[in-house]
């Protein structure tokens, strides 16, 4: 079951109403029980309890107000010291309201001080005091008169009855004659011996206390007296030691007229009250000052509290709004302002909270959109990276251009193919990366794309004496509206393809040439042999004249035959070589240890006694390759032979080094054969692997062609390069590496 909470404003009103009612009840109780006199002293327990209760309330109220005010001021002071925002205005507002509250009260207190001072001085003015004094004297003189009359009566009695011979009738007569109200004779212990008194005299006029008083103050030669304040009337009691036997005391009593006694009592009371007040004048003054001061202080506290309350009504909502605006400025819309404000502040805070809510909603939408955008961007980046990776794996060079022919995208192959190391995206232009004559050729190509979308053409780039054959494909890029946005150019390096095609063509030529040449060679050889045999037979049978001409002919024939034989042999060798080239077997790939092959080959060159030193530098760890061992052996033999021949052309001591190593990047296994010969002439490097191209006088130019063919069949690469120190190096790169089985072999030389 949920409890409904009252709004705070109603709670405050309720509290204030209850406090006012309690205060009114309290005032009523005070008025009823204590009266409205200025100086109140407790006369019975209830008054004392009320006074204590009021006093405690006073103390509690003052302490509470002091605590609240001090706490607020200390808090404000420290807030100002810490330079917390809004504390400046808060302090000023608080001080201003406090000053507005304190100033009138201070004026009120000052005026009250003056009024009280003047009033108190007026109360104790000299005429009033003199009147009272004279009235008091008047009463005293009247009493003295009665006392003196009573004394005189006693003296007369003592004169009339000096030795105590008075009898009752004489005493009565004397009392009637003198007008005294009573005549008594007491013994030493205060007990009554005889008495003569008027009927109106109260019976209890002489109590035990009075007799003791008389007894203790009685004198023999002096009449003593005192005034008995009886409820009915004051009485003058005179007493003296009565001569005669025993210690007797004569007492004479005279009543003071009731009205006179009453007036005298009133005068005396007024006189005493006046002087009591006069004695306490400073205290009374102080008390009034304290009343005024305390009232002022309470009022001041109340006004200050009220001013703080008012300032709080303003400051708290404004501070809450300020805090809220700061949080909004910092981007925090999560917490609405929670503040019990009233009136317009309530509306303002409500509007602010609504604004924060809307901002929060908008922020959520923006954050969601931003998150999605980031996600899309990340996906795009991933896709770009993927495309870039794919592009980098493509052997063809790919370059994307914008409308101004500035490179926007390219892959690594472009830098390699166009020999450009520094290409900067969105800065480098197409003309900066291609030769000038090719740039215009490419421009024409790009122009054609506007009509055919995609155009391909073979373009030959020359770098020095080297030629690179590219199939350049240009594609026009368009947006959804068909507007041109750029181009993509693909440089496909077909140099190797052309070389392969050339090699295949040569192979076919060789096969046909061998076939066409080989067939007539035997008849030629046989014919020449028959001519030689026929001529020898004719000579042996002496069917030829022994003339110089025949001798010359014989010599010519012999030379011709020898020449024909030699050339035929040469032709035969040539044909055999071409046949071998044309009939290279299809390799059978098996796991092969390259180091073992190299060792076998190099071992064959050891101990020949030649001046060329063949050294090995084999990798300690070399995985097996998938290769046809016999064909690879021929490759190594061919390369080593070429190297030895290259170094033997020089007069210096030759050195051939065969090296193997493994590169994990790929992975790939490399074989290098290098020499310290003269190196490869630059103009020959392009045709190095073409058939019938040799730098050697005796060579057919098919060795490296075989090598290239075998390595192509193994999906291996070969490249040749000159060394800076002299000589050249052929590097073979095997890419079909058997992974997972690694055999570590000791390196050997």
């Amino acid at each position: 079951m949920s409890q409904k909470k009252l709004p705070r404003r109603y709670t405050t009103l309720l509290v204030i109403s209850v406090m006012i009612i309690l205060a009114l009840i309290l005032l009523f109780i005070i008025h009823y029980h204590l009266g409205s006199s200025g100086l109140v002293t407790p006369e019975f327990n209830l008054q004392a309890i009320i006074l204590i209760f009021l006093t405690l309330i006073d103390i509690l109220v003052i302490l509470t107000l002091i605590f609240v005010l001090s706490r607020y001021l200390v808090k404000t002071f420290f807030e100002k010291r810490t330079r917390r925002i809004f504390t400046g205005i808060k302090t000023k507002l608080t001080l201003a309201l406090m000053a507005l509250a304190i100033l009138p009260i201070a004026v009120f207190m000052f005026l009250s001080y003056e009024v009280i001072n003047e009033s108190v001085n007026q109360w104790f003015s000299a005429p009033a005091e003199e009147i009272l004094r004279q009235a008091e004297n008047l009463a005293q003189e009247y009493y003295e008169l009665v006392i003196e009359q009573t004394r005189r009566d006693m003296r007369q009695f003592l004169a009339d009855f000096p030795a105590g011979q008075a009898d009752a009738a004489a005493v009565r007569r004397f009392r009637d004659r003198s007008g005294s109200d009573a005549l008594m004779l007491l013994d030493d212990a205060g007990r009554l011996i005889w008495s003569e008194k008027a009927t109106a005299l109260p019976d209890d006029i002489l109590q035990l206390d009075n007799t003791r008083l008389i007894q203790q103050n009685v004198k023999a030669d002096e009449i003593s007296f005192y005034v008995e304040n009886h409820p009915e009337a004051d009485h003058v009691v005179c007493f003296v030691r009565y001569p005669g036997p025993g210690d007797r005391i004569l007492v004479c009593i005279r009543r003071i007229q009731g009205s006179v006694a009453y007036r005298a009592f009133v005068i005396t009371e007024a006189y005493q009250e006046y002087f009591q007040l006069k004695n306490q004048v400073e205290l009374i003054r102080l008390n009034y000052f304290i009343v005024v001061g305390a009232t002022g202080i309470i009022l001041m506290f109340a006004f200050v509290w009220f001013s703080l309350y008012i300032s709080k009504q303003i400051i708290v909502p404004v501070q809450a709004l300020l805090d809220g605006s700061q949080r909004v400025a910092a981007g925090d819309f999560s917490m609405p302002i929670r503040c019990d404000a009233r009136d317009e502040f309530d509306v303002l805070i409500g509007s602010f909270n609504q604004m924060m809510q809307e901002l929060q909603n908008n922020k959520s939408i923006i954050e969601e959109a931003s998150r999605r955008l980031k996600q899309v961007n990340a996906e795009l980046e991933n896709r770009n990276a993927f495309i870039h990776s794919v592009l980098n794996t493509v052997a063809a060079g790919v370059v994307s251009l914008n409308e101004d022919l500035v490179i926007t995208v390219y892959n690594d192959a472009v830098r390699h193919l166009l020999k450009q190391r520094h290409i900067q995206i969105n800065q480098t232009q197409l003309k900066d990366v291609v030769p000038r004559e090719k740039y215009f050729e490419l421009l024409r190509l790009l122009k054609e794309t506007e009509f055919y979308q995609r155009v391909s053409r073979e373009v030959i780039f020359r770098s020095g004496k080297r030629e690179m054959h590219f199939v350049v494909t240009a594609t026009l890029l368009q947006d959804y509206d068909g507007r041109r946005t750029g181009y993509v150019i693909v440089f496909d390096d077909v140099s190797d393809l052309i070389k392969t095609e050339k090699a295949a063509a040569w192979q076919e030529v060789a096969r046909r040439l061998a076939h066409e040449i080989k067939n007539p060679l035997t008849p030629i050889q046989l014919s020449m042999e028959r001519i030689r045999k026929q001529f020898k037979k004719m000579k042996d049978e002496d069917r030829l004249p022994n003339s110089s001409e025949v001798q010359q002919f014989e010599q010519l024939l012999a030379e011709s035959l020898e020449t024909t034989r030699a050339e035929t042999r040469t032709l035969k060798y040539l044909v055999e070589e071409f046949s071998r080239f044309a009939r290279l077997p299809v390799p059978t790939l098996r796991p092969t240890d390259l180091n073992t092959l190299v060792e076998d080959v190099v071992r064959g060159y050891a101990g020949e006694g030649n001046r060329t030193l063949v050294r090995m530098d084999l990798a300690g760890f070399l995985p097996e390759i998938y290769a046809d061992a016999e064909l690879i052996r021929r490759v190594i033999v061919n390369l080593v032979d070429n190297a030895i021949e290259a170094v033997q052309e020089k007069d210096t001591e030759g050195l051939v080094r065969v090296t193997t190593w493994y590169e994990e990047n790929g992975p790939r296994i490399l074989l290098a054969v290098e020499d310290n010969g003269r190196g490869i002439p630059e103009e020959m490097r392009e045709h190095l692997f073409l058939p019938y191209f040799s730098t050697k006088e005796t060579g057919m130019g098919l060795g490296l062609t075989f090598v290239k063919k075998i390595l192509d069949d193994h999906d291996a690469l070969i490249r040749a390069e000159n060394l800076n120190r002299g000589g050249c190096r052929f590097t073979v790169e095997f890419r079909k590496v058997r992974s997972g089985e690694h055999e570590i072999r000791p390196s050997g030389t």
């Binding site: 006074l51 005293q140 009591q276």
Partner: protein, 177 residues
């Protein structure tokens, strides 16, 4: 309300004669008699004018002489041999121009006096002669002593907490054979 508080707080002070600034018990004379110790002392430095003013304005002035007969012992709670109180009450009748005095004490008859002269009344109020009983087993010589002070009246702070206006304690050695 604050005024009430202040009046309540100052009720005692309105009629205060004794305190740290005025009213001291003077030299105390001790006379050893076979059956009693007679103590004679007086309150000095009392403001005569203020006393007269109080009396004439109707106040009743009451002095209580407190006498403690003690002995020097190690334990503080074991030092008392006897405690005595004598009350002296003085009032003024303005119509008769007399001062009425009364002396009250335990085991002593009430004494009532009439003084037509203020000085006599003042002397009576501020001086004391009292007979104290001698102890059956006297303490070693020089260890007994008397403490005397005069309490004017007892008031209550906030009407609850007792407080008194009195002279300081005056001490005198009892050297009875």
């Amino acid at each position: 309300m604050i005024a009430l508080l202040m009046i309540v707080l100052n009720l005692g002070n309105l009629f205060g004669l004794l305190g740290s600034e005025s009213g001291q018990v003077g030299e105390i004379a001790v006379e050893c008699r076979p059956d009693a110790i007679v103590v004679v002392c007086a309150v000095g430095d009392l403001d005569e004018g203020r006393l007269r003013q109080l009396l004439e304005s109707g106040e009743i002035v009451e002095f209580t002489y407190q006498i403690e007969h003690q002995v020097q012992r190690r334990m503080w709670f074991d030092v008392n041999l006897g405690e005595y109180q004598i009350q002296k009450i003085l009032s003024y009748n303005p119509l008769a121009r007399q001062y009425l005095a009364r002396r009250l004490a335990v085991d002593e008859a009430t004494e009532e006096r009439i003084f037509p002269d203020f000085h006599e009344a003042f002397y009576w109020l501020t001086s004391l002669q009292v007979r104290l009983p001698r102890l059956p087993d006297p303490e070693p010589a020089g260890r007994e002593y008397l403490r005397v002070r005069v309490v004017q009246q007892k008031s209550r702070f906030l009407l609850l907490i007792p407080r008194e206006m009195s002279t300081p304690w005056q001490k005198v050695a009892v050297k009875c054979p």
